[in-house]
Symmetry: none
Subunit: 257 residues, 2 copies
């Protein structure tokens, strides 16, 4: 996990000419949820600002440690790969990557010990061509054509999420083991369960001339699918036993008539 933290520290989220301080705060929170803390602010319109702090929702450390620069060239100092987020295809003839392709490229550089920047433009105007020209490739989040503009912090969230997924990669957590997990029912227990179920159906006079085989096959299919554990089996055995008890009393009653 400290390896992940180390790796994560090589990535910077660079926000350029951000208009709304609230978006800076939301972006900090979005980064922080995915384990990233390196934020660079290039010529933000208003910062620091109460709205930024409010929307950071506890990710204050990200804001406090944010690097502030007047221009993008300074903001990218120390990074060897800069990927610019862009909603639209531009006149700039930069290679266009999907988020996943961009993240793979970023991660490869980070694995070599390089510092990487993801660059996000102004909310309304995006990245200027001159800013994109400072980037090595651009990443387009595949939004729909008729409503293509993600909120800035949403774009940050998508990229931070994709980056974390890629970093977790194959060290993906194995199936979560529940401490309270009940053992799954084995085949022999399932057979006893089906026998009890079949007997119960007989006792409550469910079949009424229908083929018990078809019904039992359908019930088997259903309960096999559910992959029950032992506690669930005990519960159902208990229910069957009560239904049988009622049937037995009822049968006594019918017998009297």
């Amino acid at each position: 996990m400290s390896d992940l933290t180390e790796l994560a520290s090589q990535l910077r989220f660079v926000l350029v000419r951000t208009s709304h301080p609230g978006n800076i705060g939301s972006a900090a929170r979005a980064m922080r949820t995915m384990g990233f803390t390196g934020m660079t602010l290039v010529a933000p319109h208003r910062f620091p600002h109460d709205e930024a702090s409010a929307l950071a929702a506890g990710a204050d450390d990200v804001l406090e440690n944010a690097a502030l620069h007047a221009g993008l060239v300074d903001g990218l100092a120390g990074t060897s790969l800069a990927l610019g987020l862009s909603a639209r295809r531009r006149g700039v003839d930069l290679e266009e990557l999907s988020p996943r392709e961009g993240v793979a490229r970023a991660l490869a550089a980070m694995a070599r010990g390089e510092k990487v920047a993801l660059v996000f433009g102004n909310e309304r105007t995006g990245l200027e061509n001159e800013e994109l020209a400072r980037c090595h490739a651009m990443i387009r989040i595949p939004s729909v054509d008729d409503f293509s503009s993600l909120n800035l912090s949403q774009a940050v969230q998508v990229m931070a999420y994709e980056m974390r997924i890629a970093m977790l990669g194959d060290q993906a957590p194995a199936a979560p083991v529940r401490a309270d997990a009940e053992p799954p029912a084995d085949a022999a227990q399932m057979e006893r369960f089906y026998e009890h179920l079949a007997q119960t159906l007989d006792d409550i006079d469910f079949h009424k001339g229908r083929a018990p085989t078809t019904i039992m096959l359908r019930l088997r299919k259903l309960f096999q699918r559910a992959q029950m554990d032992e506690r669930e089996l005990r519960m159902l055995h208990g229910i069957f036993a009560d239904a049988q008890r009622m049937a037995s009393i009822a049968r006594g009653k019918s017998g009297e008539q």
Copy 2:
């Protein structure tokens, strides 16, 4: 593209007990950027609201067409698969999926023509256990342990993005349609099923002082997992009816004693 729109219309984003109207607006925008328009609001604290409209940033159609319901059961009516977003592992032991696994499962159901719900809880408290019990599995966005809470609309954005990527990925999902397939039970049918089951357990005197709530939650979990179709529901209703009939005769008998 119209195929994608058609497919997208089978997915609903269900927001439960949302506190901040601004988050509803941001969620609408997030959905809309990825081509989704089906929003369901369950007991929102304030809606409609100016802040929701402001933050929708042009996705007003999503808000205008949002379905409003007082409870989650109604909110899920018509859907056959409900996946609940949950930040934490809970005492509820529902299957836990990654966003990508959840999206794959959702898309498979949608390709069969089914309606699917992604369910998002209250900003502060998330989904209650009873709400999660209405879901077939839960999805955990893999945030870091020490800062795990995504803003609501950010979680919506991540899921909408993953869903769109998956939809773009397998443009032509070969829907494994079985000729003999029965329609899957929808949420309202499942509720009637659970009511009948609960009544039957009462009638056969199953509880004997034990808490019916715990038992019913366990049974819900079991049967939700099985994702039953309508024919299976009819079969189980028939079994319950016969058990009730026996109990009723038996009760007549006991009354005589």
